[in-house]
C-alpha cells in the first residue's frame, strides 16, 4: 500500500518562495545597517578622542580634526593642494606607467628564454631585495632633481614586483594546458596568446597591486629628496615650519590615494581573472 503525500499547489510554493526571499533580503539589509552603524560609531569615537586630545596638546606636536579640516579648506581654495596633487600624480603616472610598459614585456622575455633567465635573474632578485631608498641619492646624482629623477625613482620602486610577479605567472603556467595547446598544434605565438598570457594575468594583477603601493612610497621619498614639488614636499615644508595641522592634509590625501588605488587594482584582479578566485575548485 502506498501513501500519497498531499502536493502543494504551485501558487502556494511560489508564495513561500517569495516570503523566503523577503526574509533573506531583510536579514541582509539588517546586517548592512548594523555594519555601517558600527563603522560610523567607531569613526565618531576616533574623531572625538582625536579632537579632545589634539586640542589639549601643544599644536606643534599634534592637531585636532577641526583645525586640519580648516587647513584643508585653505589649501584647496588657494590652489596649493590641487597643484601639489597634480605634480605628484604626474610623476607617479610616468613612473608607474613606465614600470608597467617595460616591466611586463621584459618579464615575459625573461620567462621565455632560458639564456635571459640565467643572465638577469641574479640582478633582479638582488635589486628587489635591496631597500631602494639606499639608491635614491645615487639616482639624484645621475638624474638631477626634476620630474625625470622623480619618475625614475618611482619606476625603480614599482618595477620589481611587477617584473617578478609577471615572470612567476608566465613560469607557473599549467604544463597540462601547454600540452593541450600542443595537441591542437598551436604555434609558439598561439600558445602565448591562448595559454601563457591569460594564465599570467592574475599574477600580473597581483604584481600591479604591490607595485602601486611601492610606487606611492617611492613618490613621497622622491619628493622628500628632490626639488620642491608635490604632496611629499608639502608634508616636508609644513613639518619644517611646525605647521602640524597643515602637515596632516597631504598625509591624509596620500592615504586616501593609496586606499583608492589599491582597491582599484584589487577590483581589477577580480574583474580580469574571475577564475583565479575559484582556484580550489579547479
Amino acid at each position: 500500500m502506498t501513501t500519497t503525500i498531499p502536493t502543494l499547489h504551485a501558487a502556494d510554493t511560489e508564495r513561500k518562495r517569495l516570503a523566503h526571499r523577503r526574509r533573506l533580503r531583510g536579514a541582509k539589509r539588517r546586517r548592512r545597517v548594523a555594519m555601517w552603524a558600527v563603522r560610523l560609531a567607531s569613526l565618531a569615537i576616533v574623531l572625538g578622542v582625536w579632537q579632545w586630545y589634539g586640542s589639549s596638546v601643544n599644536p606643534i606636536l599634534f592637531a585636532p580634526p577641526t583645525k586640519i579640516a580648516h587647513e584643508f579648506g585653505v589649501l584647496i581654495s588657494d590652489g596649493a593642494l590641487g597643484k601639489a596633487l597634480v605634480q605628484s600624480l604626474t610623476v607617479f603616472g610616468i613612473g608607474l606607467g613606465a614600470a608597467i610598459v617595460l616591466g611586463i614585456p621584459l618579464a615575459l622575455v625573461w620567462a621565455r628564454y632560458q639564456i635571459v633567465d640565467w643572465a638577469i635573474q641574479g640582478y633582479v632578485n638582488a635589486l628587489y631585495a635591496t631597500p631602494l631608498v639606499a639608491l635614491v641619492p645615487l639616482l639624484i646624482l645621475w638624474f638631477g632633481f626634476g620630474v625625470e629623477a622623480k619618475s625614475i625613482i618611482i619606476f625603480s620602486f614599482a618595477v620589481f614586483p611587477i617584473l617578478i610577479n609577471t615572470y612567476q605567472g608566465a613560469r607557473s603556467v599549467d604544463p597540462g594546458l601547454v600540452e593541450v595547446a600542443g595537441s591542437f598544434r598551436c604555434s609558439e605565438l598561439q600558445t602565448w596568446r591562448h595559454v601563457i598570457l591569460p594564465s599570467s594575468v592574475p599574477f600580473i594583477a597581483a604584481g600591479l597591486n604591490i607595485g602601486v603601493g611601492r610606487a606611492l612610497v617611492g613618490m613621497i621619498i622622491a619628493e622628500f629628496y628632490t626639488s620642491a614639488s608635490g604632496l611629499g614636499y608639502m608634508v616636508l615644508l609644513a613639518s619644517n615650519t611646525f605647521q602640524t595641522a597643515k602637515m596632516f592634509v597631504p598625509i591624509l590625501v596620500v592615504m586616501a590615494l593609496g586606499v583608492c588605488l589599491l582597491g582599484a587594482t584589487r577590483t581589477l584582479k577580480r574583474k580580469v581573472s574571475p577564475w583565479s578566485e575559484q582556484e580550489g575548485r579547479l
Partner: protein, 270 residues
C-alpha cells in the same frame, strides 16, 4: 582486428588507421614501453587496458605526438608521427579546459587555432555543444559547471576539429560513477554515428568492454601489449544492457586473468 557485427556494417568511415611498430620509450633509466606492436583498422574503437602507471598514457601521448619515442615508429594513415598529427585530437583526463575561456570559447579553441572562419566556427561549435548536451552553457566558465559537463566540453572540443582519430586518456576517471555511465552511453551514441577511430586509455575493465570493439591488454612496466581481446557484443550498445549479457561476464573474467597474469591485480581492482 576490430570486429564489426554484421547488422552494423561500416559503409564508410571517417577514421584513420594507426600502427605501432616495435615502439620503445625510456624515461631516463626507466623502460616505459617495450616492443609495442599493433595496428588498428580505420573506424575501430580500441581500448588500451592496463594497471595504473603501466605506461598506457605514455603510449597515447606518443601516438598523439606529444612525446617522442626512442625506437620503432608510429604511423597514422601510413604517415610517420613526429609531432601532434593533424588527424588526431585528444580528450584529456583532467579535461584540460582553459579556465579563462568560456565553454563556448574552449570548444572553439581548436577551430580558431586552425584558422577556421568565424561563421563556420560558430556553426560547428553550436553543433557539437548540442551533441554533448551543453547548449545553454556557452557563456559559463569551466569552474561554474560540474566535472561531467567539463568533460563534455573537452569531448566537444576534440570532436569539433573533426579528427579521424580520437585519443582519449582515461577521460571519465575523474567524474563520478553515475555521470560516467551517462557519458559512456553518450560517447557510444556519438561514436556509433560516425565511427572515427578511437584509442581509449583506461584502467577499468568494465568500461573497456562496454565501449570497445577490441581491448589491448598491457603488461606492467615495461609495458607491452600482451593480449588483444575482440569484444563481439552487437551495437548499438548501451551500458546497462551490455552489463546484463553473459558475454560481459566472460570477457570480464578473461581480462581479469590476463591482468593478474601480468601481476597487475591490485591496480586493476582500483
Amino acid at each position: 582486428m576490430a570486429t564489426m557485427p554484421a547488422e552494423h556494417p561500416i559503409e564508410e568511415t571517417a577514421g584513420a588507421s594507426v600502427e605501432c611498430h616495435r615502439v620503445e620509450k625510456w624515461f631516463g633509466e626507466l623502460n616505459v614501453l617495450a616492443d609495442v606492436e599493433f595496428s588498428i583498422e580505420p573506424g575501430a574503437f580500441v581500448s588500451v587496458l592496463g594497471p595504473s602507471g603501466c605506461g598506457k598514457t605514455t603510449l597515447m601521448r606518443a601516438i598523439g605526438g606529444l612525446v617522442p619515442i626512442d625506437e620503432g615508429e608510429i604511423l597514422i594513415n601510413g604517415g610517420r608521427v613526429s609531432g601532434p598529427p593533424k588527424e588526431a585530437a585528444i580528450v584529456f583526463q583532467q579535461f584540460g579546459l582553459m579556465p579563462w575561456k568560456t565553454i563556448y570559447d574552449n570548444v572553439a579553441f581548436g577551430l580558431r587555432v586552425a584558422g577556421l572562419g568565424k561563421k563556420e566556427t560558430e556553426a560547428r561549435v553550436r553543433h557539437f555543444l548540442d551533441l554533448v548536451h551543453l547548449t545553454g552553457f556557452e557563456g559559463s566558465f569551466p569552474y561554474q559547471v560540474s566535472g561531467g559537463m567539463q568533460q563534455r566540453a573537452g569531448l566537444a572540443r576534440a570532436l569539433a576539429v573533426e579528427p579521424q582519430l580520437l585519443l582519449m586518456d582515461e577521460p571519465f576517471a575523474s567524474v563520478d560513477a553515475m555521470t560516467r555511465e551517462v557519458l559512456h552511453d553518450e560517447l557510444l551514441g556519438i561514436w556509433e554515428r560516425d565511427r572515427r577511430t578511437v584509442v581509449f586509455i583506461t584502467h577499468s575493465i568494465d568500461e573497456a568492454i562496454v565501449l570497445s570493439d577490441e581491448i589491448f591488454v598491457m603488461s606492467r612496466s615495461p609495458a607491452t601489449v600482451v593480449a588483444r581481446i575482440p569484444v563481439e557484443i552487437p551495437r548499438p550498445r548501451r551500458e546497462r544492457t551490455v552489463r546484463g549479457l553473459p558475454q560481459f561476464t566472460e570477457l570480464r573474467e578473461r581480462c581479469w586473468d590476463l591482468l593478474e597474469h601480468g601481476g597487475a591485480e591490485e591496480a586493476a581492482r582500483s
